[in-house]
Symmetry: C2
Subunit: 302 residues, 2 copies
Amino acid sequence: MTKKLVFGHQNPDTDTIASAIAAAYLVHKAFGDETEAVALGTPNAETQYALDYFKFEPLRVITEADTKQVVLVDHNEAAQSVANLADVEIAGVYDHHKINFTSNAPIWFNNQPLGSVATILYYEFKSHDIEIPEEIAGMMTSAIVSDTLLLKSPTTTSFDQPALEALADIAGIEDYEAYGLAMLKAGTDLSKRSAKELIDGDAKSFDFAGNVFRIGQVNTVDIEDALTRQSEIEEAMKAEDFDNFLFVITDILNSNSKAIYLGDNSDAVEKAFNGKLVNHVIDLPGVVSRKKQVVPPLTAAF
Amino acid sequence: MTKKLVFGHQNPDTDTIASAIAAAYLVHKAFGDETEAVALGTPNAETQYALDYFKFEPLRVITEADTKQVVLVDHNEAAQSVANLADVEIAGVYDHHKINFTSNAPIWFNNQPLGSVATILYYEFKSHDIEIPEEIAGMMTSAIVSDTLLLKSPTTTSFDQPALEALADIAGIEDYEAYGLAMLKAGTDLSKRSAKELIDGDAKSFDFAGNVFRIGQVNTVDIEDALTRQSEIEEAMKAEDFDNFLFVITDILNSNSKAIYLGDNSDAVEKAFNGKLVNHVIDLPGVVSRKKQVVPPLTAAF
């Protein structure tokens, strides 16, 4: 049996790392394959908190797959994956993003519109009657907390809360809200990260009616504190040389955001979010999800 | 909640009909959606045997979806689906074929390399803790028997037998081999079907390096008896006007096939199957699966 590498997307977040760990275990137990969970980058501070808490070593970091078969989690598009994806066989996919995929044969491809890939994997473990080890359940709990911002993000579905509660129980976490808040806060210490690290950390490029739009996002517990570094952040944004750059700073305690915008489409940005740019900053009350609350109104405005 | 139509591919077989019935029930129970199982054609004799046995009315036949949302079973490619697929929203897919799919958002997309879609759905019911009604379990049993030829086809996986046994049990079928053989035989009475019905019954179009290839298949218990109608069958094949037409006649008792080929690529066909075309007929010893044993060697030969 060929060994299978299991990994998530570039710029790994907690769901991508936790799901790689969980899927590697699931595929090993369900199909008997030898598997290794790896990552396409180093863990961020939030993920490192979870790894430390549940006593995991950081995953081996790769840029190219060194096995013939791979399993993708938390992505299905080549642009977000290893450089040599076209040269390896994709044996399985567990994902919750839009689909852009072809294969020459049927494969294990499980895409569900749920809050996190860890939620999907929880139900997979269940359907295969495979027990989830305590520490893996802990990582999966962390992933659901991270992707749904403790079930408060609009990406949250009715499937996420039962999975989160069951996983926290298996992991022996008595108060998952307290654990989750501590983990989310661990990811919000922005003071130790350079402005470039902040804007690059989670950034993705989009195309709105021909306008290239870079959108980055950080979580914090104090937006105003983050904005004391506005001029330094704007310098870093300019240096990246995108036509449009929107940097969203999200308050995870109060579920609000503000965003810094640099580019020639202020009108469209103001229209999208029904607000005013003041000194390049726009208020985004109630906004926490890029996928659900930032990209769709910008798409509509252009 | 919008009503969702649930349907399989054109030229429906037992797995496509049974899976539409089962998925419509599953989606209704799991998500609360109003659903209707429909078909893109009338049932073949084998499927009709199962429908009669488990007291189902034939499904409503459509060529275009008349709802805004649909769920696809047993196919994911537009060419095998309703004519207006591009105009409706695909809310879910349950399939076991190669993937050629894009979406603008995450959806329920469950593709698994198992013997039948009914097998996939069996594990879905299990993961959602939803009980399968007796008569739906009977149709799902029939689907697994049909697609795996009673677990003898090389498409059979280790997941199919446990599903088949559990479903037969729920359906109250004491001897699934006896039931399955009776159902398969019901589909092999070729004498009542016109040559056009035989070649169209299960036919699909493929593209091998730019060559359009029509491949039909029938099951029988006596290949030579079927070949007494060769000239009539060839006339019907010519009338369909495909550049290449391969009509596979499969002996389900002895797991062998012969095929009639009409077209300009005899060399490639002989190379694919390592045999000789004699009077347009080629021996295919051990071949029972179009997906596993006919399409891949043709793909390789072109």
